[in-house]
């Protein structure tokens, strides 16, 4: 009797972990992402893992940096803290992306298999994933592999931004900014970001990010504002960095070590003690 009960329990646990992912995989994409990928790059993509998102063959070229882009990065502690601080509201679990900016972002793991994708058609609607759900929300964050690659195509059509500035930041973690006079009338860009090359180690985390892209701002750095001059693109949302088992990453090991050491100290070194009076 006990064996049957244990068998049923084990079956229940296995079902719990295998059925929901299997059901999730049955979801059909509502958008053909190929329409967002520039024609010259389409030959590099094919849906190998069957999730409706084109998987990656050869890596497309990186995007072209603007002349005001911060290519060195913030090198001082003060500069870094300033770059990653801001008016974040963790209670806001939604996402937004307003303005003429539109495009698609596809996220790949280190093997080139797609793990997530989202697109935006411009206007006041937020970004959506390929299955038609709002993307970059707390419940449906955009997943990025810290050992993988992001491939993107974006445009501001029908607008063309000149003397533009942009910034992107994630609270306490990441900040970058840049801009360009745009003398060659560019209003679209495609490229890739290879996190495997950029990051010194892999990690896992859920972060809230925000950014803005403003036309006609000039060479001065773009601050965080409640309302940006028109035309602009502004947005915020949630990103989930995924990778190996969190406990096998350096931040996970450090966290486990601190928690274990601290808990041991609290239990055995901080408790009040009685001693015999001499």
């Amino acid at each position: 009797m006990r064996r049957v009960r244990n068998l049923l329990l084990a079956l229940g646990v296995v079902t719990l972990f295998t059925v929901p992912p299997a059901l999730a995989q049955e979801e059909e994409p509502v958008v053909d992402l190929m329409q967002f990928i520039p024609e010259q790059f389409r030959g590099d993509f094919a849906d190998i893992n069957g999730d409706g998102i084109p998987d990656l063959g050869a890596l497309p070229p990186e995007g072209v940096a603007g002349i005001w882009d911060d290519r060195v990065g913030e090198v001082t502690e003060e500069g870094f803290l300033q770059a990653v601080s801001g008016d974040f509201d963790p209670a806001d679990t939604g996402s937004s992306l307003t303005g003429p900016c539109k495009g698609v972002v596809i996220s790949y793991d280190s093997e080139g298999m797609s793990i997530d994708a989202m697109f935006d058609r411009g206007g006041d609607d937020p970004a959506y994933d390929v299955y038609g759900h709002q993307a970059m929300t707390r419940d449906n964050p955009f997943e990025v592999d810290t050992g993988g690659v992001l491939v993107y195509f974006g445009s501001t059509v029908p607008e063309t931004f000149y003397d533009h500035r942009w910034f992107i930041k994630a609270e306490g973690v990441f900040g970058d900014d840049g801009g360009d006079p745009n003398p060659r009338d560019k209003n679209r860009n495609a490229g890739s970001v290879d996190f495997g090359d950029l990051l010194p180690f892999q990690f896992t985390a859920l972060i809230q990010a925000k950014g803005a892209f403003v036309d006609g701002w000039g060479a001065a750095e773009l601050p965080e504002m409640d309302v940006y001059p028109e035309p602009n693109c502004a947005g915020d949302g949630w990103v989930k960095f995924v990778g190996p088992n969190p406990l096998l990453t350096p931040p996970g090991m450090l966290a486990a070590l601190l928690a274990a050491a601290g808990f041991t100290g609290v239990l055995f070194n901080a408790r009040p003690a009685l001693s015999w009076r001499e």
Binding site: E171, G172, T204, A256, V266, N269, P272, L274
Partner: protein, 80 residues
């Protein structure tokens, strides 16, 4: 006569170990994506845990004294 005991409290130790525990637990929750990665959240977890640690070091049930109770010295007879 029963041997007497003295109670030693450790609020500073509790504070420090609580601080470390809070930082570790917050980072663990962050790397498992249970809570978002953010410096203020890390500060809140660490601060609250440090205060709880200090309270534990002050008011937790004390450990029993080590060893056997010292035997009181034999009573010295008073002057006749």
């Amino acid at each position: 006569m029963m041997a007497e005991t003295t109670l030693k409290r450790h609020p500073i130790r509790g504070f420090i170990w609580g601080l470390i525990t809070g930082a570790g637990v917050a980072l663990l929750l962050m790397v498992f994506s249970v809570i978002p990665l953010s410096i203020p959240t890390l500060g809140i977890y660490t601060g609250v845990s440090a205060v709880l640690g200090a309270l534990w070091g002050s008011f937790a049930p004390p450990k029993k004294p080590k060893g056997v109770a010292p035997t009181p010295p034999p009573a010295v007879p008073g002057p006749a």
